[in-house]
């Protein structure tokens, strides 16, 4: 009865619906064009000479081939050094994600399965630490990393190992929290069976638990990955703005500071900086969106 009513109502109301649908489509399209405008501006101005931009900021490129001239200017510029920055960003992001996801899932599993007051305390401490903002630890962190680095003869400043270790420290609390929530819902029976079959504790984790918690890895990788890839302040403090290791945000900012506003070249540098993550998004869009939504709700 109710269903029939809906059908009747829909048929009766199909005309105003259609008008509303078109209105909504136009509004959405206009809003979308507005949202995409900055990207269009980047692409168009990457194809122009600096003189063109200064004479007429709003204008179309005279010669699309200028794009290649600009790219090669920026590409080989020692202040930007795109390939080297790309390499450093990839190394730091990939290795940080590897240690964060593996070590956090290991810790979360032990914390869930061990119902002692110690594991409860540790978990509470990780949760509480999530409110600590980077700003309150950043200055002491630099001096402390220097002291420790000198002591163990492994540099923690201006080095890959130092910044990856720091990302583990800053990323693990939220990651353990997310893994913890998921592992609580994993049935214990499988692990008990593995135990009886003589599987070691480590073997149980890597062979039984790890495959079961794969979905939540996506969340942890996406949330940490976007943050680390785009992070500016931690690399600035631990790697320095003129060090040998430079991530993409450091390179873009360094390049921008090195010139008296050569906007065409700055636009090319932002274009190059955007491309890797946008290309990744084209392929992994489903996972990235899923990861962001799950991460925010947990």
């Amino acid at each position: 009865m109710a269903k029939q009513a809906v059908v009747i109502e829909r048929m009766a109301g199909s005309k105003p619906h259609k008008g509303r649908k078109i209105a909504l489509e136009i509004v959405t399209l206009l809003l979308f064009i507005l949202f995409m405008m900055p990207f269009l501006i980047v692409v168009l101005n990457s194809m122009r000479t600096n003189a063109e931009i200064i004479n007429e900021p709003v204008g179309l490129p005279q010669n699309v081939g200028q794009l290649w001239t600009n790219i090669s200017d920026v590409w080989n510029n020692p202040n930007f050094n795109f390939l080297s920055a790309l390499k450093d960003s990839v190394i730091i992001t990939v290795l940080s994600l590897a240690v964060i996801s593996i070590f956090s899932s290991m810790a979360a599993w032990v914390l869930v399965r061990n119902k002692t007051k110690w594991s409860r305390f540790l978990f509470m401490m990780y949760v509480a630490a999530m409110v600590i903002p980077f700003q309150v630890v950043m200055f002491p962190l630099i001096t402390w990393f220097k002291t420790v680095g000198d002591f163990i003869h492994i540099p923690l400043l201006r080095s890959y190992q130092g910044i990856i270790f720091a990302y583990l420290g800053f990323g693990e609390a939220m990651s353990i929290f997310i893994f913890h929530g998921f592992i609580k819902g994993v049935p214990l029976e499988l692990e008990e069976a593995a135990d009886i079959d003589g599987c070691s504790r480590a073997g149980t984790f890597f062979r039984i638990v790890l495959p079961l918690i794969q979905p939540v890895f996506v969340t942890v990788l996406v949330l940490n990955g976007l943050w680390i890839w785009n992070d500016y302040l931690l690399p600035l403090l631990l790697l320095g703005s003129s060090g040998t290791i430079r991530t993409i945000p450091l390179a873009v900012q360094g390049f921008n500071g090195a010139y008296v506003k050569q906007w065409n070249l700055i636009m090319v540098s932002t274009l190059l900086a955007m491309l890797p993550i946008i290309i990744l998004y084209l392929f992994a869009q489903k996972y990235i969106v899923q990861g962001m939504v799950d991460g925010s709700i947990k």
């Binding site: 649908k21 401490m125 950043m138 002491p140 070691s200 955007m274 946008i278 962001m292 925010s296």
Partner: protein, 299 residues
């Protein structure tokens, strides 16, 4: 070694890497950080002496810091409203019956993929080159000069850029929430003659309460901690006058903390500001947790 000991050892080894990083990266620097804020620490190996509350007294008499604090609160309020309103409107659009919903959803999220430094530079170009030319062409006095170098409009540019960057992310949260509302509820309302507007305000919005809470607190902390867009877009400028002293019109707290330490070489006062920053964020979190608790009881 018995199997029980072996098991304990494995578990301890599993906890070790994260615990080590946590202690070395968060706990020890945090304790040092609190301690340094009560000293004349200079960031080097030089001797540090206890100065009690001197740093705190000094920063609360400093116009630049007080101004930065107020500007950060202003930015946070405006930005929370702006991001959530825009995100909510987009989420309604991309969950309506329009064609190409999925493309739009994916597209609106794209700005969120890109870092604040890169976005800040792009928008700096837009505000200082593109808009002034359009402003001149249409004869608008306001737009014909860069909105970034005008102390009265510079905060608006920060809100515009951050809304553009963040709304796509918050939209995803609202979309997930809208999709969780059962279709039959909305259809029943339609049958009962509820208008489009009524269905949104009386049914969708109340059922999305949880998503609103999440989004509000996410944007709240995100806005309060804003740093990289600030650096790349305005770098704190232009100059304004506050308490009869020159201050930076758009210098948010995170940038003010950094500049105190590295531009003005006052590590101890920078650290004291960071501790205040931490205290405010902790208050936000306590409010959030107690709010969520009270809602759980209601439900």
């Amino acid at each position: 070694m018995t199997s029980k000991q072996k098991r304990k050892l494995t578990e301890a080894l599993f906890l070790l890497p994260t615990l080590l990083a946590f202690v070395m990266v968060i706990i020890i620097p945090f304790i040092y950080g609190i301690y340094y804020s009560f000293t004349n620490w200079q960031g080097t190996g030089a001797a540090t002496a206890w100065v009690g509350l001197d740093n705190y007294k000094a920063i609360f008499q400093e116009p630049a810091f007080l101004h930065s604090f107020l500007v950060t609160l202003l930015f946070t309020v405006l930005n929370v409203i702006s991001v959530n309103v825009v995100a909510f409107v987009i989420s309604l659009l991309v969950t309506s019956e329009i064609r190409g919903r999925n493309v739009y959803r994916a597209g609106f999220f794209v700005p969120n993929l890109i870092g604040g430094i890169v976005l800040g530079l792009v928008w700096q170009f837009i505000f200082s080159n593109i808009l002034p030319q359009i402003g001149t062409a249409i004869g608008s006095k306001l737009l014909s000069k860069s909105l970034i170098s005008n102390k009265d409009t510079v905060m608006a540019t920060m809100v515009i850029v951050n809304t553009w960057q963040y709304a796509g992310y918050i939209m995803l949260i609202y979309v997930a929430s809208i999709q969780g509302i059962s279709k039959s509820v909305l259809e029943a309302a339609e049958v009962d003659g509820a208008t489009y507007w009524k269905r949104i305000t009386r049914i969708q919005i109340p059922l999305m309460a949880n998503a609103f809470t999440i989004s509000l607190f996410l944007t709240l902390t995100n806005s309060f901690k804003m740093y990289d867009v600030n650096v790349a877009l305005t770098n704190g400028g232009p100059t304004a006058v506050f308490m009869r002293k020159p201050v930076q019109a758009s210098e948010l707290l995170a940038l003010n903390i950094y500049q105190t330490a590295f531009k003005y070489n006052n590590m101890a006062q920078g650290q004291a500001k960071a501790v205040i920053f931490f205290v405010v964020l902790t208050i936000f979190s306590i409010i959030q947790v107690s709010y969520n608790k009270s809602k759980e009881i209601e439900a």
